[in-house]
């Protein structure tokens, strides 16, 4: 995920978490009724702690739903909040969450299993690997992570060259495994995981 899409996703997460609050509907209704409102006024009206009301209002202001203006009364400055818009739209383009590597460069990648990778492969029915067991850490901190593989990933792994064999291009392995290009994103994800855990030799 690229940085800008990650930031967008985080902003949506923050907004969604605000809207998921039990008091969100009442709070938003209050913001529609009142031209502008302070945190203490809203807290008193809804029976909330002032800090809770303050956080909710600040969150909506950060999401650019509220306008925040400084006001002063009896020497102490405070903020008043008013709605900037009458609708809240949440839109997330899911495609932005995954930027595939160009298929030409992935196809050309030469790979094989790394010698003494420590990974365990559980065989499934037919010519496929059903699960990949990855071990991380040492001694008491040693942990096992089991990845259940999709049929595409399982067949790809079945035909992955052995550690002492000549590396093969991803395209060649896919041809051996009779896999179509539709499987490429799943295979890329698997290769990323295997690469991260030192199970693959890449050229």
């Amino acid at each position: 995920m690229k940085n800008h899409s990650r930031q967008e996703f985080k902003a949506i997460q923050r907004l969604a978490s605000l809207l998921a609050k039990e008091y969100a509907e009442d709070f938003l209704r209050l913001l529609v009724i009142y031209k502008n409102i302070s945190a203490s006024e809203a807290a008193a009206r809804l029976g909330l702690h002032i800090k809770t009301a303050q956080d909710f209002l600040e969150g909506l202001a950060e999401a650019d739903i509220l306008e925040k203006k400084e006001a002063s009364e009896r020497k102490r400055p405070y903020y008043r909040y008013s709605l900037k818009r009458n609708t809240i739209e949440i839109s997330l383009a899911l495609d932005t969450l995954y930027q595939p590597q160009p298929s030409s460069s992935l196809f050309a990648l030469k790979i094989r299993e790394r010698k003494n990778s420590g990974a365990l492969f559980k065989e499934g029915q037919g010519n496929r690997i059903a699960a990949l067991h990855i071990f991380t850490g040492e001694g008491r901190n040693r942990e096992e992570k089991r990845l259940n593989l999709t049929p595409c990933q399982g067949r790809f792994l079945f035909y992955l060259p052995f550690p002492t064999e000549k590396p093969l291009k991803v395209k060649e392995i896919m041809a051996k495994a009779s896999l179509s290009e539709d499987c490429l994103p799943e295979i890329q994800d698997l290769l990323n995981i295997m690469g991260k855990h030192g199970i693959l030799d890449q050229e």
Binding site: E113, N116, F121, Q125, N127, Y159, F162, P163, T164, E165
Partner: protein, 255 residues
């Protein structure tokens, strides 16, 4: 004679045999002659049962010889039959079975072939670059029908060379260290076992279990070892297809 590439691999059977001998000795020490007779006859009945099950599973008539021998020894030494009029008849017939059993052992007719198979597979492999993986290896293609693969599987089972597991898409020929584990039904899957599978697609798939790979003295280059094991079974298949399955036995006896 070529030096073996395998370490000692008969530990399980040695422990089994020593346990039986130990049980007989213990019974003799504690209960004297009667203890010996009971323990010895119980061991013989156990061995009779094992060989009888193997006779049924393999349908190999040669197993009639050890089955008969152990059965008759069991009857000869069984204390409640000590005064039976048939006691001496059992003992005399068992001598003939003993002679037959010696012949069976000398001609390797009921030998398990785990060692020979691994030795033959390792023979052409000279590199020792390790590279073990628990994944199966596709060692190539062969032309065969399902009936031919089933026929080969039956032949290999009859001669206790492999234990076949029949699947819809392939016939898996397991090469166990202790064949009884499969023949007596203690194990039914090939998980963590060494096998050669003949797939419907014609692919020969080989998997060498880590425990079996560790039986080799050197860390033989793993893909070459798997390839060689696959080639060996391709030869077995070819002998069977040519109507000369006995060549498989000759090849195994050559080690």
């Amino acid at each position: 004679m070529q030096e073996s590439k395998l370490k000692f691999s008969e530990l399980e059977m040695m422990i089994f045999t020593l346990s039986l001998i130990g049980a007989i000795l213990l019974a003799t020490l504690i209960f004297g002659q009667l203890g010996f007779a009971w323990a010895f006859s119980v061991v013989q009945i156990l061995m009779f049962t094992i060989h009888f099950v193997v006779l049924i599973r393999t349908k190999n008539p040669v197993y009639f010889i050890p089955t008969g021998m152990y059965g008759l020894w069991g009857l000869t030494f069984f204390p409640p039959l000590a005064h039976s009029p048939l006691h001496e008849v059992f003992a005399v017939i068992s001598v003939f079975f003993l002679v037959g059993f010696i012949w069976v052992l000398a001609t390797k007719k009921i030998n398990w072939r785990y060692r020979e198979i691994l030795e033959l597979a390792a023979k052409p492999v000279t590199d020792a670059s390790d590279g073990f993986t628990s994944r199966p290896f596709v060692s190539g293609q062969a032309n065969f029908s399902r009936n031919e693969a089933l026929g080969l599987a039956r032949f290999l089972l009859k001669h206790v060379i492999c234990f076949p597991i029949i699947e819809a898409e392939r016939i898996v020929l397991v090469i166990p260290r202790v064949m009884w584990v499969y023949l007596l039904g203690f194990r039914r899957s090939y998980e963590e076992a060494t096998y050669v599978a003949l797939a419907k697609s014609g692919e020969i798939i080989v998997r060498i279990a880590q425990s079996d790979y560790q039986k080799f003295k050197n860390e033989l280059t793993f893909d070459q070892l798997c390839q060689s094991l696959g080639e060996l079974f391709k030869q077995f298949l070819q002998h069977y297809q040519e109507g000369e399955p006995q060549k498989i036995i000759h090849k195994l006896n050559s080690i």
